[in-house]
């Protein structure tokens, strides 16, 4: 059931029709049923896995909360259990397929069976969310919750189940434990977020998708301006696709009375790579920072260990996205960017004054440079394999082909960038994703109408799944 489908519209309408009539406890039960129905729509067998992980983490948290000496053992069992599930479903075949050639080089030919299993959708997101809860309980940051219904509702909450944000228990779980009020402000901001999300997904990401597919499938012969353009378009596509999903999730959350965290804070306005990671997929980057980078020692144990920790964190971030060397390379590339930035600038933030024209120009150049570095890394993320990515890169480096007939391509990119900026600039300037609600009603009406007209005109004929569903 995709957000951009009629089924989801009917599903949401059916839930909202009865949702407000219930007490918050009954609402939680309804949310669990709705979430399992929503998840089971893809494949009913996934529900069993979700329920198993919910039980594992619920009981682990209760065990970790008590003052028993075996707390550390319980935590190890819990993390092993979660990672084992993730490993079997997501990484087992990848490691086997990578191990087999390595062993054959050594003259060993052991029998390494390949598992014929489907990857449960969103498994990386909810496994990390659940692990975050138990680790927080272990660290004493958040008490274990005894109310199973609240915990199960938090762990399966359908708006953010498939592609995040990876919500922290400390922020999200208390919202399930008290009555929720939904006022007109929440409804209007929720609907606005949904409209923005659908606009990003339908009018921008989906209409770019065929263009990007075409460039990547002809990477060996396409001229370099088309290759660069295709990369820029993919950079826009993945942002609009993923942040569009988050906007819809946040909008649906608000209609249900929940405040879901901001996951994207205009990442392409980042003036350096560190800032980019503070703005892109915030829930994952902060999760990795708090549960991986800092426990590894962060930046406290010398220069070498800092770089090692950065690289390790980013490579694992790449691996989190998928069991493929392209994702590992993408992560490693970002790790190198972060290390390079730290080496050159010591990881200091942007201290330039905004008022000086020269400083503004420098900032603009920094934004463009960061955008292009990020776009280059997306090449490995999007390419089906390493050899295809290298062929694509070769076409750009060798400046294959010519500018001829590429002018129109350029205008299309400008068009899509303009659409993104129309949404992002007001939000960025007001530092508020629903800043539009403060504008005069005439202006808002015209903007909403224009967004719907653009969606009608630019929508793809097919329902295209969100890119991040595969993770």
């Amino acid at each position: 059931m995709l957000y951009n489908s009629l089924e989801f519209a009917l599903f949401l309408l059916a839930i909202l029709t009865v949702y407000y009539c219930f007490s918050y406890r009954a609402q939680n039960v309804l949310l669990i049923l709705a979430s399992y129905f929503f998840y089971g729509w893809w494949d009913w067998r996934f529900c069993g896995l979700l329920f198993f992980l919910t039980l594992l983490n619920y009981f682990s948290a209760l065990a970790l909360h008590s003052e028993t000496p075996q707390r550390r053992t319980y935590l190890c069992i819990n993390i092993t259990g979660n990672l084992a599930v993730l490993g079997v479903f997501k990484y087992y075949n990848f490691f086997i397929e990578s191990l087999a050639p390595a062993l054959s080089h050594l003259g060993l030919h052991p029998y390494l069976p390949i598992l014929h299993i489907i990857l449960p959708i969103g498994i990386s997101f909810y496994t990390f969310q659940m692990m975050g809860y138990t680790i927080d309980v272990y660290k004493g940051r958040f008490p274990a919750v005894r109310d199973f219904i609240s915990v199960a509702a938090y762990m399966s909450f359908f708006p953010q189940l498939l592609a995040g944000p990876i919500e922290r228990a400390g922020r999200m779980l208390p919202q399930f434990q008290k009555p929720r009020s939904v006022d007109s402000r929440m409804v209007s901001s929720g609907l606005l977020l949904m409209l923005i999300g659908f606009f990003k997904k339908i009018a921008i990401a989906d209409s770019i998708s065929p263009e990007v597919d075409s460039v990547f499938s002809h990477a060996a012969t396409a001229p370099w301006p088309e290759l660069v353009g295709g990369l820029w378009l993919y950079t826009i596509q993945i942002y609009c696709d993923f942040s569009g999903y988050t906007d819809i999730a946040r909008g649906v959350g608000r209609l249900l009375g929940f405040e879901i965290m901001i996951n994207f804070n205009h990442p392409y306005f980042a003036a350096n790579i560190g800032e980019f990671w503070r703005r892109w997929h915030i829930s994952l980057s902060t999760w990795l920072r708090d549960y991986l980078y800092i426990p590894l020692g962060g930046s406290r144990e010398g220069v070498f260990k800092t770089y090692r920790n950065l690289m390790l964190t980013m490579v694992l971030c790449g691996l989190w996205h998928g069991a493929n060397w392209t994702f590992v390379t993408w992560g490693a590339l970002h790790g190198m960017y972060l290390c390079g930035y730290r080496l050159l600038f010591g990881g200091a933030g942007d201290n330039t004054s905004r008022t000086l024209p020269a400083a503004r120009a420098i900032k603009l150049c920094s934004i463009l440079l960061t955008f292009n570095l990020v776009a280059l890394a997306w090449l490995f993320f999007r390419a089906p394999g390493m050899s295809e990515a290298l062929i694509y890169l070769q076409g750009i480096i060798l400046l294959r082909g010519s500018w001829e007939n590429c002018l129109f391509y350029f205008w299309r990119i400008v068009f899509y960038i303009a659409l993104v900026l129309l949404i992002d600039i007001p939000q960025y300037l007001h530092n508020n994703h629903t800043a539009m609600l403060e504008w005069p009603w005439v202006l808002r009406g015209l903007i909403y109408g224009s967004m719907i007209i653009f969606m009608i005109l630019l929508a793809s004929g097919n329902e295209i799944p969100f890119i991040y569903f595969q993770f």
């Binding site: 007109s184 209007s188 609907l191 075409s214 007939n405 002018l407 129109f408 205008w411 609600l437 009603w441 005439v442 808002r444 009406g445 015209l446 909403y448 109408g449 224009s450 719907i452 007209i453 009608i456 005109l457 929508a459």
Partner: protein
């Protein structure tokens, strides 16, 4: 309440855009795009209004292969070509069922126009036909034109492109430029396309049985099959790829099946060496279409007029 006023204005804007698109279509300033919905709506409308007694159902092979006007003239009765891109025998049968459900009369003659790949349930056509099979059940209504604005987007895009391109493209280059940047650009690798059509080739007898059952269910008297030719090169390629199911074997199997099911077969399927008669390996060229129609007319005429068509 701020929101409702903005929402009302938004809806008014969308409604105005829809009405403007409708007016532009009515006054001929914009054209509706080609789409399956439009094709089906046009076919249903044509069937209802003209009530042709001969229905030819098929795919692009029929569209390029049979000259409908010439055939009608030769036979002395109105014919309609109902072409659905990529439809297999099963897909065409599903579309026949769809039209029979949509229109208020039954045709006197129904001919399925096919070539060898249309029997393959593993080919590209079988995947395309899934769309047609979804239209078959009673609830499988095709989507009506739900947005006028959406239906004219190709035309609108073209107009915008024309205006915009004037800024930076020389006047003499405009036609080729527009051709290059048309909205729906289908870039087909002919070799790959053909390979996908005959992917894991097997002869699907079930598709023919399905067609026969639909005809029987609707009381259509003996239905017919027109088997179109392919190039000699393509037949030879097929024979090399599938020695167990060669082109002559397919034709024999088809003949046997038609005899068993009581389907009239007009077999024009002898492979042709003259490549001028074809656009590619199996779609006939205008010249090929004249040739095939010339072969078909007397055969179909004799079948119909000898009364053998109806028992």
């Amino acid at each position: 309440m701020k929101m409702p006023r903005a929402v009302i204005l938004c809806l008014c804007l969308v409604f105005t855009a829809e009405m403007a698109a409708l007016m532009m279509v009515r006054t001929g300033r914009l054209e509706q795009d080609k789409s399956l919905q439009k094709l089906l709506a046009d076919n249903v409308s044509c069937l209802q209004q003209k009530r042709p007694p001969l229905w030819l159902v098929g795919n692009s092979g029929l569209e390029f292969g049979i000259d409908q006007k010439q055939l009608s003239k030769d036979l002395g009765l109105a014919a309609i070509s109902l072409c659905h891109g990529g439809a297999t025998v099963r897909g065409s049968a599903a579309m026949l069922e769809f039209y029979l459900k949509e229109v208020s009369y039954k045709p006197e003659y129904v001919m399925l126009v096919v070539s060898k790949d249309d029997f393959n349930p593993n080919g590209l056509g079988a995947r395309t036909s899934e769309t047609y099979l979804r239209l078959m059940p009673w609830w499988g209504k095709y989507k009506k034109n739900y947005s006028w604005l959406r239906s004219v987007r190709g035309s609108l895009y073209y107009k915008t492109l024309t205006l915009w391109s004037r800024v930076f493209v020389k006047k003499e280059d405009l036609p080729s430029w527009r051709e290059k940047y048309q909205l729906i650009k289908i870039d087909i690798d002919q070799q790959e396309f053909t390979r996908a059509m005959m992917n894991n080739y097997i002869f699907d007898s079930e598709g023919l049985i399905f067609f026969s059952e639909i005809c029987r269910h609707h009381g259509l008297k003996n239905p017919g099959i027109i088997f179109l030719p392919i190039t000699a090169d393509y037949a030879a390629w097929h024979n090399r790829e599938f020695p167990a199911m060669t082109y002559p074997t397919i034709r024999n199997r088809l003949r046997e099946m038609c005899r068993a099911l009581g389907i009239t077969l007009i077999d024009l399927g002898d492979p042709l060496a003259n490549r001028d008669l074809f656009r590619d390996l199996f779609h006939l060229s205008p010249q090929g279409s004249q040739y095939a129609t010339g072969l078909l007319s007397p055969k179909l005429s004799s079948v119909i007029h000898a009364g053998r068509y109806f028992k």
